[in-house]
C-alpha cells in the first residue's frame, strides 16, 4: 500500500469501524479500514444484537437522547443498506421486555427506572412496569415464575451478524480499502498527515478514526486522546432454529429471524476470550427455562463468551484531538444500537473535520477528569 494516501484511516474493522467507514465513504471520503485477522477478539461477532433503549442513560442523561436518536434512525439506516447491497439485516422494533423472576427483581427494576427518569434533562421514553397477566398478553409462552417486567416500545433488535456482513459488503461496493491482518502498532503525525505502522507496511491518511474497541485504550494516547476502558466478559447460549414463538425481544432472550434463540447477558471480570464458565451458561439456561418453560427440551447448539467493549463508566467516548488535529475516537459498548448514529451522524462530522459539540460534547473523555476533580 506504500504511496497510497487516504482521506481517513479507520482503525478497527468491527461494527463501530465499518459503520463509521461506510458513513465516511457516503460523504465522498477515500477510506481505508485497518483490521486485525480471523482470530481477533471481536465484540462484532459476539453480541446480543439488540437495538435497545430501556435502561440507557442512568448516570449520564444525554446518553438516553443519543440512544433514541439512533433507534429512530435505524429503519432508514437499514433501508439504505438494503438498497446498496440487497441484504436485509432484519431490523425490527416491536418493543422489548426486561423480565423479572421474583417480586424482588421486579421492585429493583422499578426503582432503577424511577432513578433513571428522575434525572434532570432526561428524555422520557415511556417504559412501563407490567405484571404477569399484562406481560402474558404479549408473551403468551411466559412461565408462571415470570412475575412481571418492564416494557419499552422503542426497543428492537436486528440480525447483527448479517449487519456486520452487510456493512462489509457495502464498503466493498463503495470501493473502500479493507485491510485485514493490519493491526496498527503505532500512529504518528508528520508533515500534516497520519502514519499508521502495521506488520504489512505503513498506511498514510489525512485523518484517523479510532474504532478499535478496547484497543482504543492503547491507541488513543498516540494521538493525544484517551479512552479509559474496562473490558469484561459476557456469555451467550444459542439454541437450534425454532419456529417463531416470541414476538418481542427480551433483554436476556430473543429469537433471531433465523429461528435460533439467544440467551445471555452475564458479566464476569475475566478478559480471557477463550474461557467459558459452564455454571454461568447453566444459570442463563435455568433462567431461560423459568421464563419460557417450553424451551426446556430445545437443543443448545452453541455457547460462547466474548469480551465487551466497555468504557470505564459504560458510556460512549466521541472525541477529537486538540494536539493531533484530524484524530478522532469513536468508542462505545453498544455498537449495534448506535450503528445508525455512527454511520449517519458521527461519520459526517469526521468528514467535515470537527465534532458537533451540540450533539456529542457530553461524550468527551474529558468527563473522566471532571469526575476526578470533583
Amino acid at each position: 500500500m506504500a504511496g497510497d494516501e487516504f482521506d481517513v484511516a479507520v482503525v478497527g474493522g468491527g461494527l463501530v469501524g465499518v459503520a463509521t467507514a461506510w458513513g465516511l465513504a457516503r460523504e465522498g471520503c477515500k477510506v481505508v479500514v485497518l483490521d486485525e485477522g480471523d482470530r481477533a477478539v471481536r465484540a462484532s461477532r459476539g453480541n446480543f444484537a439488540l437495538v435497545w433503549v430501556q435502561s440507557k442513560g442512568l448516570g449520564l442523561a444525554p446518553y438516553a437522547g443519543w440512544t433514541i436518536r439512533s433507534s429512530n434512525a435505524w429503519r432508514g439506516f437499514s433501508d439504505l443498506l438494503k438498497q446498496e447491497t440487497g441484504l436485509d439485516v432484519s431490523f425490527q422494533r416491536p418493543g422489548g421486555f426486561h423480565l423479572c423472576l421474583s417480586e424482588k427483581e421486579l421492585e429493583t427494576r422499578a426503582n432503577n427506572l424511577r432513578r433513571l427518569h428522575n434525572q434532570p434533562g432526561i428524555v422520557d421514553y415511556k417504559t412501563e412496569i407490567l405484571d404477569h397477566d399484562q406481560v402474558r398478553k404479549m408473551l403468551p409462552d411466559i412461565g408462571p415464575e415470570g412475575v412481571g417486567g418492564s416494557f419499552c416500545p422503542l426497543d428492537g433488535h436486528v440480525n447483527s451478524l448479517r449487519l456486520f456482513r452487510t456493512l462489509h459488503a457495502a464498503l466493498n461496493e463503495r470501493g473502500v480499502t479493507y485491510l485485514p491482518s493490519h493491526r496498527v502498532e503505532t500512529i504518528t503525525r508528520e508533515a500534516g498527515e497520519f502514519r499508521l505502522a502495521t506488520p504489512h507496511g505503513e498506511i498514510r491518511a489525512s485523518k484517523v478514526a479510532l474504532a478499535a474497541g478496547n484497543a482504543n485504550m492503547r491507541l488513543a494516547p498516540m494521538v493525544g486522546l484517551e479512552a479509559p476502558m474496562k473490558p469484561e466478559r459476557g456469555q451467550i447460549v444459542v439454541t437450534e432454529r425454532l419456529r417463531p414463538f416470541l414476538n418481542h425481544p427480551v433483554v436476556t432472550l430473543r429469537q433471531t429471524d433465523e429461528g435460533t434463540v439467544m440467551i445471555g447477558d452475564s458479566k464476569e471480570e475475566s478478559i480471557d476470550p477463550s474461557g467459558l464458565t459452564i455454571g454461568v451458561s447453566a444459570t442463563e439456561a435455568e433462567r431461560a427455562v423459568r421464563q419460557f418453560p417450553l424451551l426446556a427440551n430445545v437443543n443448545v447448539v452453541r455457547t460462547w463468551s466474548a469480551i465487551r467493549v466497555m468504557t470505564q463508566d459504560g458510556f460512549p467516548i466521541y472525541d477529537e484531538s486538540q494536539t493531533h488535529p484530524g484524530a478522532f475516537t469513536v468508542c462505545c459498548h453498544s455498537g449495534v444500537t448506535l450503528a445508525a448514529n455512527h454511520a449517519l451522524t458521527i461519520a459526517p462530522m469526521i468528514a467535515r473535520g470537527a465534532l458537533d459539540a451540540s450533539l456529542v460534547a457530553p461524550f468527551s473523555a474529558r468527563r473522566f477528569h471532571v469526575q476526578e476533580a470533583g
Binding site: L161, H168, E240, S274, I278, V301
Partner: protein
C-alpha cells in the same frame, strides 16, 4: 445400564470414544489399577471400524473379514479390565481443567478427570459435489455401518464413488454379502502415483500391502470401474442419476444410492473445543492435534489417541491408545506396573509404515475438495461454494469471520461437514495455505444438549451473580 445420576463426580481417567484406541487405553489403564471410565456415544463399543462388534447380526465371518473380528478381542479385554464402559453417553464438553461434560439418557453431568484420553477417531472427509445433500446420497462409511450394525446390504442401482481403502473394502464386503454394485467411479488422480511411488518400498513391507492388492483384485473382477474427474448427483426430491465425466466425456447412470468416500480425517471437534493446538497436515490434507511421543496434547493431562491423532488405521489406533494410557497411568499411579512401551512403539511403527504411500496415492483431487458455484459447502446452513469464495474475495480471510458472515459451521453438525472445505476454499481464493487460514474455533457443547440439561448443572454463587444482577 448406568444412569447419569449414578456416575461418580470424579475419576482418575476418562477415555472418550470406544473404538480401538479407547478400548485399548481403557483396558490397559484399568488393569493397572487406575479408576477408568470410558464414554461412548453408540449403543455398543467398537467405534466405526469395529462397529457393533459385540452385537452385529452378520454371522458369516467371511463377509466383514478377519480384520473386523480383531475388534472382538479388544472389546472383551476392555470389558474384563474393570473399566466402567458407558454406552449411549455423549461427551459434549471438555475444558483445560479436564472437566468432562457428558449426557446420558437425556441427563447431563460434569465429571472431573485426573487425565483424559480423547479417542474420538475419524470421520469421512467432506465430499462436496453438486447434489450431495440429496436423499439417496450417503457416505460409504454409512453403508458399511448399515451392514455391520444392522445387517443391511445395498441392493440394485448402487454406485460407489471416490477413492481410498474404505471404498474398496465396502465394495468387497457388499459383494460377499450378496449386495449389488453397478459401478465404482474412481476419482483418484492418476498423477498421485508420482508422489506415492517414492513410498512404495515402505508400503510393500506393511501389512496393508497384500491386503490391499487382494481387495482390489476381488472387486475389480466383479464391478465395472470408471474413472471420473467430475461427479454430480442429480434429482429433485432424491437422487435419480449420477452424472460423471472423465476427460470431458460425460456419462450417466440411474441410481437409488450413491455412496461417496474420499478418505477419513480426524474428528477434531472435542479436542479443538478443549483448546488443544492443531496444525495442518499437508499430506493428509486435514488438521491434526500437536502431540508429544505419548500422544499428550498442548492441554495438560489431555491426550489424543487413535485416528484422531492423524490417520493410521485401527491396529495403530489401539497401539496409540496403549501408549497414551501408559503415560496416564505413570502420571496418576507411578507405582503401578505397566507394559514396556518399546514393543508397542515398534508395532505402531510397523503399522504406520505404509501410510505415506496410501496418503499420497489416495490424495483426493482439488476439484473434489474445493467446490465451485452453487455446490453446497455447509450442509446445515446451506451455504454455497460461491458465497464462500465471494466473501473471501471481499476480504474475509478466515473461517471464524466467514462463520459470522455466512453462518457456515453454525448448524447442528458444528462444522464437521464443512470445516475443511471452508478452510480450503478461503486458502484457494486468498492464495495462501490452509495452515495460514486456520480452522473454526469450536465451543461447547460440541454435540447438542437440551436447555434443561444445561440448566441442571451445578451453579456456584459467583456464577449465579454473574447473571442475576
Amino acid at each position: 445400564m448406568i444412569a447419569a445420576a449414578d456416575l461418580a463426580s470424579s475419576c482418575d481417567l476418562v477415555v472418550i470414544g470406544g473404538g480401538p484406541a479407547g478400548l485399548a487405553a481403557a483396558a490397559l489403564a484399568a488393569r493397572a489399577g487406575v479408576s477408568t471410565v470410558l464414554f461412548d456415544e453408540n449403543p455398543g463399543v467398537g467405534g466405526q471400524i469395529y462397529r457393533a462388534i459385540t452385537s452385529t447380526p452378520v454371522s458369516d465371518r467371511a463377509i466383514l473379514g478377519e480384520d473386523y473380528w480383531d475388534g472382538a478381542a479388544l472389546a472383551a479385554e476392555a470389558k474384563a479390565s474393570g473399566a466402567l464402559i458407558v454406552n449411549g453417553a455423549t461427551v459434549w464438553s471438555l475444558d483445560r481443567q479436564r472437566l468432562v461434560g457428558v449426557s446420558l439418557g437425556g441427563k447431563a453431568r460434569l465429571i472431573e478427570a485426573g487425565r483424559v484420553i480423547i479417542a474420538t477417531g475419524s470421520q469421512e472427509r467432506p465430499f462436496p459435489i453438486p447434489g450431495w445433500t440429496l436423499p439417496g446420497v450417503m457416505t460409504a462409511g454409512a453403508a458399511q455401518t448399515a451392514l455391520k450394525a444392522h445387517g443391511l446390504v445395498v441392493g440394485a442401482r448402487t454406485v460407489l464413488a471416490g477413492g481410498g481403502p474404505l471404498l474398496w473394502l465396502l465394495a468387497a464386503q457388499t459383494l460377499r454379502a450378496g449386495g449389488t454394485i453397478d459401478a465404482i467411479l474412481d476419482t483418484t488422480p492418476r498423477r498421485n502415483w508420482l508422489q506415492a511411488i517414492l513410498h512404495l518400498p515402505d508400503f510393500a513391507l506393511s501389512p496393508y500391502f497384500a491386503k490391499g492388492l487382494a481387495l482390489l483384485r476381488e472387486v475389480r473382477g466383479r464391478v465395472r470401474v470408471h474413472r471420473a474427474d467430475r461427479i454430480e448427483a442429480v434429482g429433485t426430491d432424491r437422487v435419480r442419476e449420477v452424472v460423471f465425466s472423465s476427460g470431458g466425456r460425460e456419462q450417466r447412470l440411474p441410481v437409488d444410492l450413491l455412496l461417496l468416500h474420499q478418505g477419513v480425517v480426524p474428528n477434531v471437534n472435542l479436542a479443538n473445543a478443549a483448546g488443544v493446538a492443531h496444525v495442518w497436515n499437508d499430506r493428509q490434507l486435514c488438521f491434526v492435534p500437536v502431540l508429544d511421543a505419548d500422544f499428550g496434547s498442548s492441554a495438560p493431562g489431555i491426550a489424543v489417541a487413535g485416528d484422531g491423532a492423524g490417520i493410521a488405521g485401527g491396529t495403530a489406533a489401539a497401539e496409540r491408545g496403549r501408549i497414551a494410557a501408559i503415560a496416564a497411568v505413570r502420571a496418576l499411579k507411578p507405582e503401578a506396573v505397566v507394559p514396556d512401551t518399546q514393543a508397542i512403539r515398534q508395532s505402531l511403527q510397523r503399522e504406520e509404515m505404509g501410510r505415506a504411500f496410501l496418503d499420497w496415492l489416495n490424495r483426493p483431487a482439488d476439484s473434489f475438495r474445493q467446490p465451485v458455484g452453487d455446490t453446497i459447502a455447509c450442509r446445515c446452513e446451506e451455504v454455497t461454494a460461491k458465497q464462500v469464495r465471494d466473501t473471501a474475495n471481499m476480504g474475509c480471510e478466515g473461517p471464524n469471520q466467514m462463520k459470522a458472515f455466512l453462518r457456515c459451521g453454525m448448524g447442528p453438525c458444528q462444522g464437521r461437514l464443512c470445516g475443511l472445505t471452508i478452510t480450503e476454499l478461503i486458502a484457494a481464493e486468498r492464495k495462501t495455505s490452509p495452515e495460514e487460514v486456520g480452522y473454526y474455533r469450536l465451543r461447547p457443547p460440541v454435540k447438542p444438549i437440551t436447555l434443561a440439561e444445561l440448566a441442571s448443572l451445578p451453579i456456584s454463587e459467583a456464577e449465579r451473580k454473574a447473571v442475576e444482577r
